[in-house]
């Protein structure tokens, strides 16, 4: 690209710093690069240590593992790919046991409480779902919130007193048998919501997926605006109360395994247990793991390779015999499915669904997670989702409080949260344009300049 050869005024050195670093990096040989990498990692660790030692410890272990793994001898190295996910999984599963003892971080405040952690998990799921559409298949979707809404409303319709003239009970826990309305087990509804949303995704996709680039983006944006308005006006659709309008649907039945599950030690009803938040947390963890698993398997499948082919060059992919419409529709449908499941679980966790939950902001929020985390890389996207959801739920106000305490100021935190959030995502993107944990493919492109064709840059 033409960015380089002109005389830069002196102050550009500061405004263009990350770009400058990248250029330097490109000029280094392997050994220098290794050393520079170590310096950067130590710097990162130093920052993390200041924020809080448990965080630094975890990251240090991950770095060490990454360094040591290539040196594992032959018979054992086949387990290498399980080590890093294993460590993360171990930390995540045991998180409820040690979160209380962690104290709090500098600047970022408390470690995410379990309540926040559940929301982080839900957003991580949605980010993984959107990543299939945006990161794998390269279709910019600005209306992902529509799928979240569909999932949430599916859960709300079939697990509440909303349709009081019906009286259907199937597997719901904690609901008296004479309670009116449709009450179906949340577990079943997660799947129903996924399938339902998938169908909607296909219906939306069929007429619109032949559009390319930002024309598709604006159409998805349109659906993301229409669906919430339908929900808002849905208290009187030809006299029928579908969504209960702005009052929303609440409460929604709690998940639970009933007396059958109770016999094998599973919680009968999530509301009736004393460690409610832990149970919700572990459940979302299972869902996140399933989502990651599905996403990874799909990426390596024939379909996944077709997605990436389309992302890189649609025309070439078609020429190689990749059926464009079908492949894109599958990306859309899969993303929709995951969004629906996440939405349904979120609704069950919050025990409510309101049309106001589904604004364009949320679409932009989930898209930020995908890109900031590292588009195309499941781990990056999960981290991005968890991180931004944490900021939104508690981090931002904690940062404000920390600043107030450290500098003895007393500015009104909620008034500045929006700006702090903006500053953080701009800063992160400038420092790591390829995302926090980029896909190895993308990283190579950026740092070595293998291909200078940015993503979505359709051939002119």
């Amino acid at each position: 690209m033409a960015s380089a050869e002109y005389r830069r005024p002196w102050f550009h050195r500061y405004t263009g710093l990350p770009g400058e670093l990248r250029r330097r990096w490109r000029g280094m040989d392997d050994r220098k690069r290794f050393q520079a990498g170590i310096v950067l990692r130590v710097l990162l660790l130093a920052v993390l240590i200041v924020i809080g030692w448990p965080l630094a410890l975890l990251v240090a272990i991950l770095f060490a593992v990454k360094y040591l793994l290539p040196r594992v001898p032959e018979p054992w190295s086949r387990f290498n790919r399980f080590v890093t996910p294993g460590i993360i999984l171990l930390v995540a599963v045991t998180y409820p046991f040690f979160v209380e003892g962690l104290g709090s971080m500098r600047l970022l405040g408390d470690y995410p409480g379990l309540d926040t952690a559940v929301i982080m998990g839900v957003y991580a799921m949605m980010a993984v779902g959107l990543n299939i559409v945006v990161g794998y298949a390269g279709l910019l979707d600005l209306g992902y919130v529509a799928f979240y809404a569909m999932g949430a409303y599916t859960a709300a319709w079939f697990a509440s007193v909303q349709f009081a003239h019906r009286n259907v009970h199937f597997g719901a826990v904690g609901v008296g048998s004479n309670t009116p309305g449709i009450h179906i087990s949340i577990w079943l509804l997660l799947i129903v919501a996924g399938i339902f949303t998938l169908v909607i995704g296909v219906l939306i996709g069929l007429p619109t997926l032949r559009l390319r680039g930002d024309y598709l983006a604006i159409v998805t944006l349109g659906f993301g605006e229409i669906l919430p308005q339908v929900a808002r006006n849905g208290d009187n659709l030809g006299g029928f109360n579908l969504t209960n309008g702005p009052n929303g649907i609440t409460p929604i039945d709690a998940p639970g395994f009933g007396s059958v599950g109770g016999k094998i030690g599973l919680p009968e009803n999530y509301l009736a247990v004393s460690n409610r938040n832990e149970i919700y947390f572990w459940t979302v963890l299972v869902l996140v793991i399933l989502t990651i698993f599905v996403s990874l398997r799909l990426r390596d499948s024939r379909l996944g390779r077709a997605w990436i082919a389309i992302r890189e060059d649609e025309t070439a992919a078609a020429a190689m015999g990749v059926p464009l419409m079908r492949t894109k529709t599958w990306a859309y449908a899969t993303g929709a499915f995951i969004g629906g499941v996440a939405g349904a679980y979120f609704a069950a966790f919050k025990s409510s669904t309101f049309p106001g939950d589904f604004s364009f902001n949320i679409s932009a929020f989930i898209l930020s997670m995908v890109i900031l985390g590292g588009m195309g890389n499941v781990w990056g996207v999960v981290f991005g989702g968890a991180f931004l959801a944490f900021l939104n739920q508690q981090g931002l106000s904690d940062i404000g409080h920390s600043i107030n305490q450290t500098f003895g100021t007393s500015f009104d935190v909620p008034k500045y949260q929006f700006g702090i959030y903006g500053l953080i995502i701009v800063a992160v993107m400038l420092i790591r344009p390829e995302g926090l944990i980029p896909s190895s493919r993308r990283q190579r492109e950026l740092h070595e300049g293998v291909a200078d064709t940015p993503l979505y840059d359709v051939q002119k």
């Binding site: 002109y6 770009g19 619109t208 930002d214 983006a217 659906f223 605006e225 890109i371 929006f418 993107m429």
Partner: protein, 353 residues
């Protein structure tokens, strides 16, 4: 240009009989829409004209914001989400300079109003232009070689920062602006009044658009802009300073946002810290509707959206009404794009077709 891929796809669709049917469905929908408008015109002619004029005015205001999106999109293919918020700060500067510093109000004399407004216009355009250039330098330029969606996210981030600035300057509630423009009646149709302030605002957009088209089509800078939009690398080889041209584009787009901010403040007389977000979404939609990167298209798209909104809310015969405005706007947008994937005035490119 029909690529192999789209040809193959077209063939498949044709075999399904889809290609023959799709345009006819499109024409049928357009006919239905026209018929609906005609019945309304017949039933309540004066309302129809009044509402149409209001829609046109509103659409032209949207158009000014849409132009900024279109300019930046044309050159960088970046949806500059921060543009709407630059526009909002343009309204704020207009309030600060026009109403607070220069003390313009409903009782100012004609000459003072004209002089004051020109000063305010310059201040708003200069402030927003410089702000926009700064944003580009800080948040977009370092990402020139990054994945295309990276600057999209910094744009969203900048949008949040600017909104927060707006929140702290303007406060959370809408701020009322004194009626600076004359609010007398231009003409009245069947009891519906069209006022001077609406007319002035609507008419002001026309010279701006003409100036802009002239700038892009006829001047040296404009040629350079178009060259950069076509192919940055080739433009650089031809001796064009790409970064300077991009800065220049952002300067123009920012100045436009400033002008739009002032005109919006005069038109609406209520400004709020989150107006940029809402209007930005509409303006961006308008820019796409008209054909991305096409300046008259952006204004056309904006006028269509303005008309849809006002007709839907203002007509009495079988209009879905204000409950559904947003859905109608986006439904029509989706239909137009499904039937005309390159936008209204866009060219058929592989990107669009």
């Amino acid at each position: 240009m029909a690529t192999d891929a789209s040809r193959q796809q077209t063939a498949r669709l044709r075999s399904l009989g889809a290609v023959g049917v799709v345009p006819w469905i499109g024409r049928l929908l357009v006919l239905l829409l026209l018929a609906w408008l005609a019945v309304n015109l017949y039933k309540t002619p004066s309302d129809f004209v009044a509402v149409g004029l209001e829609g046109l005015t509103l659409g032209l205001v949207y158009g000014l914001i849409a132009l900024g999106y279109s300019l930046v999109y044309g050159i960088l293919e970046l949806i500059n989400f921060a543009h709407g918020d630059v526009f909002m700060l343009g309204s704020w500067i207009s309030l600060a300079v026009g109403a607070h510093t220069l003390n313009l109000g409903a009782d100012s004399s004609g000459l003072a109003v004209i002089g004051g407004l020109v000063l305010t216009l310059l201040a708003a355009a200069a402030f927003c232009g410089v702000l926009n250039v700064t944003i580009e330098r800080v948040a977009y330029r370092p990402l020139r070689n990054a994945p295309r969606l990276a600057p999209l996210i910094t744009a969203i981030g900048m949008s949040f920062i600017l909104q927060d600035v707006g929140l702290n300057r303007l406060g959370p509630a809408p701020v009322s602006i004194p009626n600076i423009l004359p609010r007398g009646t231009v003409f009245s149709i069947g009891g519906n009044i069209y006022r001077w302030d609406s007319l002035i605002v609507a008419v002001s957009t026309v010279p701006v658009l003409l100036l802009l088209v002239w700038l892009v089509q006829r001047t040296r800078q404009g040629r350079a802009m178009r060259a950069v939009a076509q192919d940055q690398e080739a433009a650089a080889m031809m001796g064009i300073n790409v970064n300077r041209i991009i800065s220049f584009t952002f300067l123009i787009a920012g100045a436009l946002a400033g002008v739009a901010g002032l005109l919006y403040a005069l038109y609406s007389t209520n400004i709020q810290f989150d107006q940029g977000f809402t209007l930005g979404l509409i303006a961006f939609t308008a820019a796409v509707l008209g054909g991305i990167g096409n300046l008259p298209g952006a204004v056309l798209g904006a006028v269509i959206i303005g008309l849809i909104q006002q007709f839907n809310e203002g007509l009495s015969w079988h209009a879905p009404g204000s409950d559904w405005t947003q859905s109608i706007v986006f439904a029509i947008l989706i239909l137009i794009l499904v039937f005309r994937p390159e936008g209204l005035l866009g060219e058929r490119t592989p990107e669009g077709g």
